[in-house]
Symmetry: C2
Subunit: 353 residues, 2 copies
């Protein structure tokens, strides 16, 4: 099991050593501050941002709990750790479809997650659960309304879970379940631990933009400047947040976004002078689902730059990193990628606000 | 907002100082190791325990996600931190109704949670989300089956949320919403942050005992001995776990349990020689919901001790701590209570296994 029989930090050592080598190759001078061993943090904790009150008469069908009352939804749960002597901009890590903030924590095979890596690198790090997901409350009101006979079954929310067989190709572990792409870096031997990370997804029951989007704006302002790091489903969120209000957004890192802004429809002015990185893993062209998304994001990056932007699109194989799945923050070389990303942020984004 | 404008640790100082005074009164000699300031941890991370695969054809009603596939449910999400030089037994913190592991983290008014307090005191600390709650996956299969017309509305799971108005008296903030008991220690000025912690509760849709119960046994064994600390709804779980298998259970701390084992029905042999603490806050006799539960637990403790047990039931006012709600781990004097509890464990449970 992850993190108990053998300390995760010492297991992470081979990857960290590999990261060091990569670091030397890439010219960064900072391998030394990422080492296994005790971690000292200045402060940690959790809180909520956003939220709205909803009054309902269909909160429960059980005698022990009253059906009527007020609940809060649309808030996001945020867990954070601040390094001692933080000298880099805060990162907000935003997970994708059917997952939670767990995405960024200990990997399925028990190695250090990006949440801790970036704290060790001097970044204040904030991990969220999207609105209506994980520790961010959903509402059972429509379900109970139907159960009580007060609404028809088609009023039920389209909440869904992704089964592992169809999800396999979406996560680009391979062309189809259970075949793996050659050279695959995802720790497939620990896949059962990964499938346990998946939870029901309410996003299709929510308005567009997702309630997470304005709350990210509130969070970025409170942090007095943050880099918004999205993944997959949440890829479009930080762009939508910036379109709403640029205040507090220092940069956008879109990891394997399901969509980028559409230059034919969306105003590109909010992205002027904003450092933007769109980052994809490997095997993208081999994926009927992801190849069009890559193409769409390429179109966005070109249009954003033509409009005065500072956008980059990088496929990991282009910088010599191979074999990455859609879940690149959990792949066996996840800390190599985090290390590279740390360097990108260092170069493109100025220090603490 | 919690933990940003003013560091949470310095805000916790008055409570910590109060804890020191209490500590001196109670004869413990360990105030010095709990102080605000940076925290050094040996290791941290998260993982899942338990879980079973479920195949379903009603996982989704959306074209973008296939309805058929395999998901994992019944696992519990565990987040842990290990202190440097841990010299005390691991604690497993188990939240109650309609809440998640957030219960034990930063308080609604931004003070240090018990999760961090106990790490600072030398306890390896494991915070879980119950099965089907928060980051521990529920299944949408029955909801989607009804939405698809493949099942009747009465097949919908009885998932519920507690509205704040009825929950007010359950949490014993006062006799009825929004009246507070005199001397109330819950930080009611920050109640909106607390209401955001509440999520839908699937427990009534699950078998008895709750799937969390056998998984706690698995966790206790992997930790090679742990103190199971429950709250409210989960109060009965560690007792059920011990009845299933005592291995790895070093002690049970039941904070404001909704139920204790029933001496008329339940075998008390599993509790022989096991340190057990049943802990209640204040205003219990004033609560029509809680007074009978207190009485029921008193009956259990007496019967368990008559059968060779080492059980204690304590109301906080009996040891000079007043004004506590049902959410005593978040009350303004929460660290005084944690400090006292740390001492109780120290006296009753021998050190690291």
């Amino acid at each position: 099991m992850a993190g108990l029989s053998v300390p995760a930090l010492s297991r992470a050592w081979p990857a960290l050593r590999a990261a060091t080598v990569l670091l030397l190759l890439s010219g960064s001078a900072e391998a030394a501050d990422v080492s296994p061993g005790p971690l000292t943090i200045a402060e940690q904790g959790s809180f909520f941002v956003g939220g709205r009150d909803v009054q309902s008469d269909t909160l429960s069908t059980l005698p022990a709990y009253a059906p009527s009352g007020t609940i809060s939804v649309d808030q996001i749960y945020v867990h954070y750790q601040l390094p001692v002597g933080a000298h880099r901009p805060p990162l907000v890590l935003i997970h994708g479809c059917c997952l939670t903030g767990k995405t960024w924590e200990t990997t399925p095979d028990g190695r250090m997650g990006w949440d801790e890596f970036f704290v060790r690198r001097g970044f204040p790090t904030y991990v969220i659960d999207q609105a209506w997901r994980g520790r961010s409350a959903a509402s059972p009101a429509q379900i109970d309304a139907v159960k009580m006979g007060r609404a028809e079954p088609d009023a039920l929310p389209p909440v869904f879970s992704a089964g592992r067989e169809p999800a396999w190709a979406i996560f680009r572990f391979g062309p189809e379940y259970p075949k793996a792409f050659p050279g695959m870096q995802f720790p497939l031997e620990a896949q059962s631990e990964f499938w346990k990370q998946m939870v029901p997804d309410w996003s299709a029951a929510l308005p567009v933009p997702n309630p997470t989007v304005p709350v990210l704006s509130e969070l970025a302002k409170r942090l007095k400047g943050a880099v918004l790091v999205s993944h997959s489903q949440s890829g479009i969120y930080p762009f939508q947040t910036a379109a709403l209000d640029r205040t507090g957004i220092r940069a956008i890192v879109a990891i394997e976004p399901a969509a980028c802004p559409d230059p034919a429809k969306d105003d590109l002015a909010p992205f002027k002078d904003l450092p933007i990185l769109v980052l994809f893993g490997d095997y993208v062209e081999a994926s009927p689902r992801w190849a069009p998304r890559l193409k769409q994001c390429r179109g966005f990056v070109a249009a954003a730059n033509a409009a005065g932007g500072r956008a980059e699109l990088i496929l990991l194989p282009e910088i010599g990193i191979h074999g990455n799945s859609h879940m690149l923050m959990q792949d066996k070389n996840s800390l190599d990628i985090a290390d590279w990303l740390s360097g990108w942020i260092e170069k493109r984004v100025s220090g603490r606000s």
